[in-house]
């Protein structure tokens, strides 16, 4: 419990002198102007390294996208189709639903094509992503350690299987603070997908864990209240709401005069921010001013809660200074019908993903925005039930763009059957370390003491993968 451990001394001492919430806004704009690429508003200040990126958009493809039908072309697997998987690949390895079943090679179900000047091999059902092949970096040698959805999500997001560790968005928000006082620094969006493979996702995935809860991800919804409790009560209009908040703050400031407790002033500033959020969220969600050409480019229909609309919303959040934006898109769990399943997903995600990256680039934001595309694990080169693939952790693919990553690069390989990461294997922790590096953070130094340990996103491992940095 008790007095908030993360005390922002600067703000507090400033406020103590000003003794009024009015000082806060001035301070914020002052801080905003002073913001450079070597400083931050968070606990990592100055930054450990000069930062290339200042924000992250993670297009999280939940369920475990098949690398073999997206970014990892395996002609040898096609040759082996229908033949037993050589035991040398699978002996002693973790298997999920295929436990105790015959392991049969299952060739790639979709065709690949070379895209861009770099000649990246990408599944032909992703032509729009192919169209920006020279902007992106494909990572083919990812691996993780958890083979079921829930723990695997937890590892991808928090670097640990133990519940209660902060998610990467919370770490980044904690480390760098936010560039907005009107919106949360870490926003989560969810879209359902329409293929039915809806694995559950727990709120633990965006939890602040052992960090103060102000760093937790705030989920925004396309239906109902965009943020929980953001709407005034029925019968309370904005004028009454403002009058009420002003009165509450006046009462709190009166208490502050007697007690001089800085926690009271923090409360005052939180009510101010709550009011600003109430005012700014509707503006954020209102896409009526977006030109039809932009909507068309993303394939977005505002209000439909689709991945496309969320991609557009992600850009608007990024523009408004939100530090970490995570879009979950569900329905990649293709135990059956992987072919039609990935085709289906491609139709949902290909265009908006490319639109977002292109749009950010045109707005000059891609250079300092990390865009990540990937899920909690990949899928087996072996078939499940004749037309599907099981969960797979030894090798899978990610795609990244912007924010200081190399462009037009395909990095790392899996073995010839797409089973295990072979050349330049990249663990989840390596990925975390690299992402933090681009944000100016040394993953070994962004720590929080808990139960006697220096808890960090990367546990006790993780190396920055410099080969993929521009």
């Amino acid at each position: 419990m008790k007095p908030s451990p993360e005390i922002d001394i600067r703000r507090r001492s400033f406020l103590r002198q000003g003794a009024s919430g009015l000082g806060l806004l001035a301070l914020n704009s002052l801080m905003a102007r002073a913001q450079g690429i070597t400083t931050s508003h968070g606990v990592v200040n100055p930054l450990h390294f000069p930062a290339k990126a200042r924000r992250v958009i993670f297009l999280y493809q939940a369920g475990g996208p098949s690398h073999l039908e997206t970014f990892d072309w395996k002609p040898k697997l096609a040759e082996m189709h229908g033949k037993p998987m050589p035991p040398s690949f699978t002996k002693g390895q973790q298997i999920a639903q295929l436990q105790g079943r015959p392991l049969i090679c299952y060739g790639p179900q979709l065709k690949f094509q070379r895209f861009g000047k770099c000649g990246a091999e990408i599944c032909e059902h992703f032509p729009n992503i192919g169209g920006i092949a020279d902007e992106i970096c494909i990572l083919r040698s990812m691996w993780t350690e958890q083979i079921n959805h829930d723990p695997a999500h937890t590892v991808m997001n928090t670097g640990s299987i133990i519940a209660g560790r902060p998610s990467m968005g919370s770490w980044v928000f904690y480390g760098l603070g936010a560039e907005t006082e009107n919106l949360p620094g870490f926003v989560v969006l969810l879209s359902q997908g329409t293929g039915g493979q809806m694995q559950p996702i727990a709120s633990r995935q965006w939890s602040a864990g052992i960090l103060p809860s102000k760093f937790q991800g705030v989920k925004m919804n396309s239906a109902g209240d965009p943020v929980l409790y953001i709407r005034n009560p029925r019968g309370v209009n904005d004028a009454i709401q403002k009058d009420s908040i002003d009165s509450i703050n006046a009462l709190n400031e009166a208490e502050y005069k007697t007690l001089q407790d800085p926690e009271i002033l923090t409360r005052v500033s939180q009510y101010e921010m709550a009011f600003r959020m109430q005012a700014s969220v509707p503006d954020l969600m209102d896409m009526s001013k977006e030109p039809a050409s932009v909507l068309e480019r993303y394939g977005a229909h505002p209000g439909d809660g689709s991945f496309a609309s969320n991609c557009l919303l992600a850009r608007r959040l990024a523009e408004r200074g939100v530090r970490f934006i995570q879009l979950y898109h569900r329905d990649w769990d293709h135990h059956a019908k992987v072919k039609s399943g990935v085709e289906y997903k491609a139709r949902e995600v290909d265009r908006p993903t490319a639109a977002l990256i292109g749009d950010l680039k045109e707005r000059g934001m891609l250079d300092d925005t990390i865009v990540i595309w990937g899920g909690e694990f990949g899928r087996t080169p072996m078939s499940q039930g004749g037309d599907g693939r099981d969960h797979h952790i030894k090798g899978f693919s990610f795609m990244v763009a912007g924010g200081g990553f190399k462009r037009g690069l395909t990095y790392g390989t899996t073995d010839e059957l797409g089973y295990a990461a072979e050349e330049n294997p990249m663990s989840v922790h390596d990925f975390h370390a690299t992402m933090l590096y681009l944000l100016g953070i040394d993953h070994k130094r962004l720590v929080k003491k808990y139960q006697g340990l220096d808890v960090r996103l990367t546990g006790v491992t993780g190396d920055v993968v410099k080969d993929i940095l521009a």
Binding site: P3, G235, K449
Partner: protein
């Protein structure tokens, strides 16, 4: 500029005494900067140098360096290296653990003084320090330290502050104005002690204590992984409530939770307590590897026991020896082995007959008697049915032929009806789609398909979505004779309740009624084609005349097209123009368990099986069996035919109906009987050390249950049990339990532990600010000596009483000049101020407003929660269904604890999800908290109910203010609130409908005693008061 933490650290290390002491001054530095590479973990030890043990540190390393030469810093390797320039400096620059000049000097001085080591404080036996007779020893230790620092303690807080503080700390409920007044008036010398006694005797005390304990033991109402379904745990919560109410000795409390089932002749209560071992998260995800999850469950138990009783992070030794404390990996697995006898599976089923593993039913004597009586009746009824069926056996061959013939002639076919009208009782909009084409979605075994099809008499509900509804549909069936009424539930992906209902986690039809010419058509049996028919929702519930029971499709139905068929008592004849009316009553307690899309069908056939697909009017299995000559049928086929014959013949229906009604009654009673997960002891599984925690690696040693080796060895005749572990935990041989408990208790009353890191008293933890006080408290806990009358060993209430009656506790919390010197107030020259816990934030609003319903124990309650909050859960896809009536206003401790989506208001105020043991909640201050207090409907409802009470008190803002914070407002505060009232009154007078909306929030009755505008404007005043920082703060 020095931060608060740095100032504080300086204060703790440099004040009070010149001689350097290992535990106080050196160990914290070394733990932070040296032990990672030169500590207990041999796998990461560098240069063969170990510094945490003196003998090791005095030995030369392989290179000949002597790390420490007592009395001779210049010859000591570590001193040379920590003062070394450039790259040779220790710790190495890459570690980012630079020593300050002061720290270096301290280490040097310590070596010069002889490098005296001390055993780690927490691992030393608890020795009761001497205290002066008379005074409360807590005050003695606190004041002695303050005096050394030249810091005077604060005077006692004013009585208003004091009674509010002690009421919130002990009960979580602020005092009433009457209680404040009585305390102010009481001139007796023990006025305060009387208040304490009253509060501690209240059941609220138990609720407040339970709240903290439930965090420790990771108590929750759902299983945590994957589908995160509800599991039966709340009777354990009630056990904890009773333990605190009855002041159960902590040793007994410990024994019962860890090993209640192993206590000879264990009582029901002791078995319930053993649920503690089963509160870990469990998974029912298909494709999990059982071994991996058994490893996870075991590790969770080690972490929990280790944190709660040992204040230690033994969990860190799952993959390697502990880096800072003397716990080995072997210790971790030896601890895990204590729990290897608990009956469990890796995949813990979350549905069906084997759901949740070992369960203990807890019927009351009345329930037990009633159940036995019902079971006897059921036995008789089943025997009668069997008898009847054997008498009908000769007719079966003919029936089989006839059934097949009718089926083949199409006589069983269902005829979808074309509704003429469809009306709802409570506002839902029903639209009829007879012949148009529509979009459909269908989820079938993991695949979702979308298609267009003829609507074919589909009725769709949209618009307003009330909790209960009755749909009335009329249609003209044409000329015919009808024997069955069918209702098909049509799925759609947009429907949040298992794709069938507009809410909840099920679709419930409480009564299905059919009228012909104004007369009801009675039914005599029912059948549905769902795959997992819950017995409490049998089809008979849809025509039993009881609106509280209902037929339902609930969790995990795997049939894509669901249908309920009710058999009419007599065939119904209709003429060409006759209009029939169907009423679908949906009045269950589940909110919005209302059907989103449906069709109505009739069949004139003999016992058409409920399946809307053409050609499926006999179940596939039965149809196949019927085509097999009798003597060649398999057992399963015979059973299928027999079951169908039982249902589908005209002569046994009365017996069938009697059995169905009794089965429903039994299931409804069973549903009311609480159940709880418990520990059940079986032959212990083999426990191996898993190298690097890898469950696939079977090469590690097999270990037997044992306590951490450095803390001793259990002397048991055979394999040590959980009971042996529990007995050791509360034995004098274990130095940790009493200290750790006392330390956590301290935090409840001062905001911070005596050692701040509550879950780690090891070397990475914090040297206690008052080690002797902590030892005294630990000793006093085990064997009360201070005011011992009426106490017993391990007396939890005694320890609490000793704390809250101390002068230290009763001090004012006002700022002091010495705050500069001790910014975190660790020396307690005053009391602390902090926000109350999440549950108490809720309890304050409920009790101040008068909304609160205080009921001790019972099933968890579901307060209002925003729609869609559970949208990303699946298996099943579901919507939240809030409780009704009183259960909406229960204390926070009773809130249904959904681990993966904890109630957002609690989560926002830092309540832990309890996926893991949490002994130290954080306390944050965020804008989302402001949004909760301003806009969460329960706080708005509390404000408008509070406003009505204020108006009953003559509209006195002074009364209201005092009710919330136990003091009258200052003139300035009064002016602020009157101003708000007057301005909003004007606004509401201009917009009376807004006033009506505001005062209508929530389900509590609306007061009509006052003009709505006045009530609304006073609601804004009440809301402001409930939002004040002071209201949610204990000062």
């Amino acid at each position: 500029m020095l931060t608060r933490a740095m100032l504080s650290a300086l204060l703790l290390t440099t004040l009070g005494g010149a001689e350097v002491r290992f535990n106080r001054d050196i160990r914290p530095i070394m733990a932070e900067t040296c032990f990672r590479c030169h500590g207990p973990d041999k796998s990461s030890r560098m240069a063969g140098m170990r510094l945490d043990i003196r003998d090791e540190a005095l030995k030369p390393t392989a290179r000949g360096t002597v790390p420490i030469v007592p009395g001779d810093p210049d010859k000591s390797g570590i001193i040379q290296r920590i003062f070394a320039p450039g790259a040779r400096v220790m710790p190495p620059p890459y570690a980012h653990k630079e020593l300050t000049e002061k720290q270096k000097a301290t280490i040097r001085q310590w070596v010069a003084e002889g490098a005296k080591y001390e055993g780690h404080w927490a691992y030393q036996s608890v020795l009761r320090p001497a205290v002066p007779v008379g005074a409360n020893p807590i005050d003695y230790f606190i004041r002695e330290r303050l005096a050394r620092e030249g810091m005077p303690p604060s005077p006692e807080a004013d009585r208003r502050t004091l009674i509010r503080r002690v009421s919130l700390d002990l009960t979580g409920i602020p005092p009433t104005s009457e209680e404040v007044a009585a305390f102010l008036k009481d001139a007796s010398p023990n006025a305060y002690e009387k208040v304490v006694d009253r509060l501690m005797a209240s059941p609220r005390y138990a609720e407040q204590q339970a709240m903290h304990w439930l965090d420790d033991v990771r108590y929750a109402d759902t299983c945590g992984f994957h589908g995160d379904n509800a599991f039966p745990a709340w009777p354990y919560r009630d056990y904890v409530l009773h333990a605190f109410r009855d002041n159960k000795p902590f040793d007994e409390f410990t024994r019962e939770q860890l090993a209640g089932d192993l206590i000879p002749n264990a009582t029901r209560e002791q078995k319930v307590a053993s649920a503690f071992n089963r509160l870990n998260r469990t998974s029912a995800e298909g494709g999990l590897q059982p071994k991996e999850y058994l490893a996870k469950y075991g590790a969770d138990r080690v972490r929990t026991v280790s944190a709660v009783w040992l204040g230690s992070t033994l969990g860190c030794a799952e993959c390697h020896d502990h880096k800072f404390d003397p716990f080995t990996s072997r210790d971790f697995y030896s601890m895990k082995a204590f729990f290897a006898d608990i009956k469990e599976t890796g995949l813990v089923p979350d549905r069906g007959a084997n759901a949740w593993g070992s369960l203990l039913p807890l019927p009351s004597p009345e329930q037990d008697a009633k159940l036995k009586a019902l079971q006897r009746q059921l036995e008789t009824a089943r025997a009668q049915l069997a008898e009847k069926m054997s008498s009908l056996e000769p007719a079966r061959a003919a029936w089989e032929k006839q059934l097949l013939a009718r089926y083949e002639a199409g006589e069983l076919a269902w005829k979808n009806q074309r509704p003429l009208t469809a009306k709802s009782a409570n506002g839902a909009v029903l639209t009829i789609h007879n012949d148009d084409e529509l979009n459909f979605t269908s989820y079938d075994g993991g695949d979702l398909s979308a298609f267009r099809a003829k609507a074919d008499g589909l009725v769709i509900a949209s618009g307003p979505n009330p909790d209960n509804e009755t749909y009335t549909v009329t249609f003209r069936p044409g000329e015919g004779t009808w024997r069955e009424l069918g209702i098909e539930l049509v799925q759609d992906e947009s429907l949040p309740g298992i794709r069938l209902a507009r809410g909840a986690d099920r679709a419930v039809i409480s009564e299905l009624e059919l009228d012909s010419g104004g007369r009801p058509v009675p039914f005599r049996s029912g059948m549905a084609n769902v795959s997992n028919q819950a017995p409490e929702h049998l089809p008979v519930a849809a025509f039993d005349g009881d609106p509280k029971t209902g037929w339902a499709v609930n969790t995990y139905n795997e049939v894509p097209r669901v249908m309920l068929a009710l058999r009419m008592k007599e065939p119904l004849r209709t003429q060409a123009g006759d209009v029939l009316t169907v009423r679908i009553r949906q009045d269950s307690d589940y909110r919005r368990a209302t059907i989103g899309r449906f069709r109505i069908a009739l069949s004139s056939g003999e016992y058409a099986w409920p399946n809307p697909e053409k050609g499926k009017e006999i179940p596939d299995a039965v149809r196949k069996a019927l085509n097999v000559p009798e003597d060649q049928r398999t057992e399963a086929q015979k059973k299928a035919v027999e079951a169908h014959y039982q249902w589908a013949n005209d002569d046994a229906w009365a017996e069938v109906d009697r059995v169905a009604r009794l089965e429903l009654a039994e299931a409804l009673l069973e549903q009311q009987i609480p159940r709880v997960v418990v520990s059940e002891s079986v032959e212990p599984r083999e426990t191996r050390i898993l190298p690097r925690g890898n469950f696939l690696d079977d090469t590690g040693d097999v270990v037997a249950p044992a306590i951490p080796a450095f803390l001793g060895k259990l002397d048991t005749p055979g394999r040590a049990t959980r009971l042996d572990l529990a007995n050791w935990l509360i034995s004098p041989a274990n130095p940790l339990t009493a200290r750790v408990y006392a330390n956590r208790l301290w935090r409840q009353f001062f905001g911070t532990g005596i050692s701040k890191v509550l879950d780690d008293v090891g070397s990475q933890g914090e040297w206690p600010t008052h080690p002797e006080l902590l030892d005294w408290m630990a000793a006093e806990f085990m064997h009360p000596e201070y005011q011992p009358a009426g106490t017993h060993p391990w007396d939890m209430k005694h320890l609490v009483r000793t704390i809250v009656t101390s002068a230290t506790y009763r001090q004012a919390s006002l700022p002091l000049p010495s705050d500069e010197k001790d910014p975190e107030n660790r020396l307690l020259a005053r009391q602390n101020r902090y926000r109350v816990d999440a549950e108490v934030v809720r309890d304050i609003a409920l009790s101040v407003s008068g909304l609160i319903v205080e009921k001790f124990g019972g099933p968890s309650a579901k307060p209002y929660q925003p729609d869609g909050y559970l949208a990303t859960l699946n298996f099943p896809k579901r919507e939240y269904s809030a409780s009704h009536g009183e259960d909406l206003y229960r204390r926070g401790v009773y809130t249904f604890w959904q681990r993966s989506f904890l109630h957002p208001s609690l989560l926002t105020f830092d309540a832990p999800t309890r996926e893991e043991c949490t002994v130290n909640r954080v306390n944050s201050n965020t804008p989302l908290q402001a949004l909760v207090l301003l806009n969460d409907p329960i706080y708005v409802e509390a404000a408008r109910v509070f406003a009505a009470r204020i108006l009953q008190h003559g509209g006195s803002i002074d009364w209201a203010f005092e009710r919330a914070v136990s003091r009258p407002p200052t003139p300035e505060e009064r002016r602020i609130l009157t101003g708000l009232r007057d301005r909003t009154l004007t606004r509401f007078q201009r917009d009376p409908s807004a006033a009506q909306q505001l005062i209508g929030e929530g389900e509590a009755p609306v007061s009509h005693a006052f003009p709505p505008e006045e009530l609304a404007s006073m609601t804004t005043v009440a809301r402001a008061i409930l939002n004040m920082h002071e209201t949610i703060t204990r000062n």
